[in-house]
């Protein structure tokens, strides 16, 4: 459990309940559901596991409701991982029907957990649909600003479903707009962080990547994969682009943390500050690695050349 996390969450109990739900699926579907659960364990998915109890603690929500929302988050996250795999073409052709079916069943179970909490007329349901529409629009239109949330934040939009449920059961002390803004900033930071770490894989797969876009304005097509790869590396080697990217993540995570303090969630604020500190430190480590490589390469080719130009450098460019 992360430091400062609320003690009310029991990961083992949620895993057990997930397993009971998966046991109601057919044999191959159950196996895939359980395999997917193994891919979404804390600490990599801390917000999905802990956000309901962190917000619930801040808003005075009953612990049992927060636990129920957490289970829904985990089921929903598993469904979304499978949908992402399908969208990215990472599923073998003969397994596509199973993956699609299991994703659908997991999502249905995730939504069903809200059934006893909200009447059919509750605005919660339309907001749930709108949130999923936001998420589905995040695949190919990364640069477009067509919704209420920043495009990058839409990748994590499903996290807002549970957050909204908790907020609706809360004491009404803070506005939803503040919760929404805090999550948007945090989700943008997370998306940028993912893109920094995954830029080569995304480039290879032809997926749009925010970090690549920050290094080159060229289209991120398969045809341009090789020149884009070189452009990103030159930006990292000569302009400190990776360090700047990590610093941007840190800045956004700290901003989200400030908003979490306004919400009254110390646990969420602490988590985001740790994320900011980690990103800033990683930026320094990565930059040092690449600066050392650039120095070695420069030394290899130009090491024997006098630093002072012999006869002076020719004026101007070509």
């Amino acid at each position: 459990m992360p430091p400062n996390a609320s003690p009310v969450i029991n990961v083992a109990a949620i895993r057990e309940r997930f397993g009971e739900i998966a046991a109601t699926f057919g044999v191959p579907d159950r196996a895939l559901a359980e395999l997917t659960l193994e891919r979404i364990q804390p600490p990599n998915w801390t917000l999905e596991w802990y956000l309901p109890v962190w917000l619930g603690g801040a808003f005075g929500v009953d612990v049992e409701i927060a636990r129920r929302v957490t289970l829904s988050n985990v089921l929903g996250l598993a469904a979304i991982r499978l949908e992402d795999d399908l969208r990215d073409g990472d599923v073998r052709a003969d397994e596509v029907p199973t993956a699609g079916r299991v994703a659908g069943m997991l999502f249905t179970e995730a939504v069903a957990l809200y059934g006893p909490l909200f009447p059919p007329t509750s605005p919660f349901w339309s907001k749930l649909q709108a949130t999923m529409t936001d998420w589905r629009s995040s695949g190919s239109e990364e640069g477009a600003d067509t919704g209420d949330s920043p495009p990058l934040a839409r990748r994590g939009a499903p996290l807002k479903i549970g957050a909204r449920a908790i907020w609706l059961f809360g004491d009404g002390r803070v506005s939803w707009e503040l919760v929404d803004r805090c999550l948007d900033v945090a989700l943008v930071a997370l998306a940028r962080y993912d893109d920094l770490c995954d830029w080569e894989a995304d480039l290879a797969a032809g997926r749009w990547n925010a970090f690549v876009a920050s290094c080159t304005g060229e289209p991120q097509t398969i045809v341009r994969r090789s020149p884009n790869w070189a452009a990103v590396l030159v930006a990292i080697l000569t302009r400190g682009a990776a360090r700047a990217g990590f610093e941007q993540v840190a800045t956004e995570a700290r901003r989200a943390s400030e908003l979490a303090v306004e919400l009254g969630s110390v646990c969420l604020a602490d988590h985001l500050v740790r994320m900011a500190d980690r990103a800033a430190a990683q930026g320094i480590t990565v930059d040092a690695h690449f600066q050392a490589l650039a120095s070695r390469a420069t030394s290899l080719i130009f090491g024997g050349m006098p630093v002072r130009p012999v006869g002076g450098l020719a004026p101007g460019g070509p």
């Binding site: 770490c197 024997g304 130009p309």
Partner: protein, 93 residues
């Protein structure tokens, strides 16, 4: 040095040493990540540098053409190229 001499000096040496080091770093970085550029810099350094809006001195061109041991550098650059992948750094986090 009179004013005229100073003007002539500035006209013929517009870059300081720092800029010169940055130019080398830029060329070396491109050569590191782009095999075609590496070969270009080796065969025709003047036009390869011009591609990056850099004009080398005659002495620099002479150095790159006739002094640099390209075959040796090609072997030595491999481990550097192999270390270019960010996941090599991030996997340890």
């Amino acid at each position: 040095m009179d004013q005229n001499q100073d003007d002539v000096y500035q006209e013929h040496e517009p870059y300081g040493f720092m800029e010169r080091e940055l130019v080398f770093k830029l060329l070396a970085s491109h050569a590191l990540v782009d095999a075609e550029f590496y070969d270009w810099l080796r065969e025709d350094p003047e036009s390869a540098a011009a591609e990056l809006h850099i004009r080398l001195t005659d002495a620099d061109i002479e150095y790159l053409k006739n002094v640099v041991e390209w075959d040796r550098i090609t072997d030595m650059a491999k481990p550097i190229r192999d270390s270019l992948h960010l996941d090599m750094v991030t996997n340890s986090w």
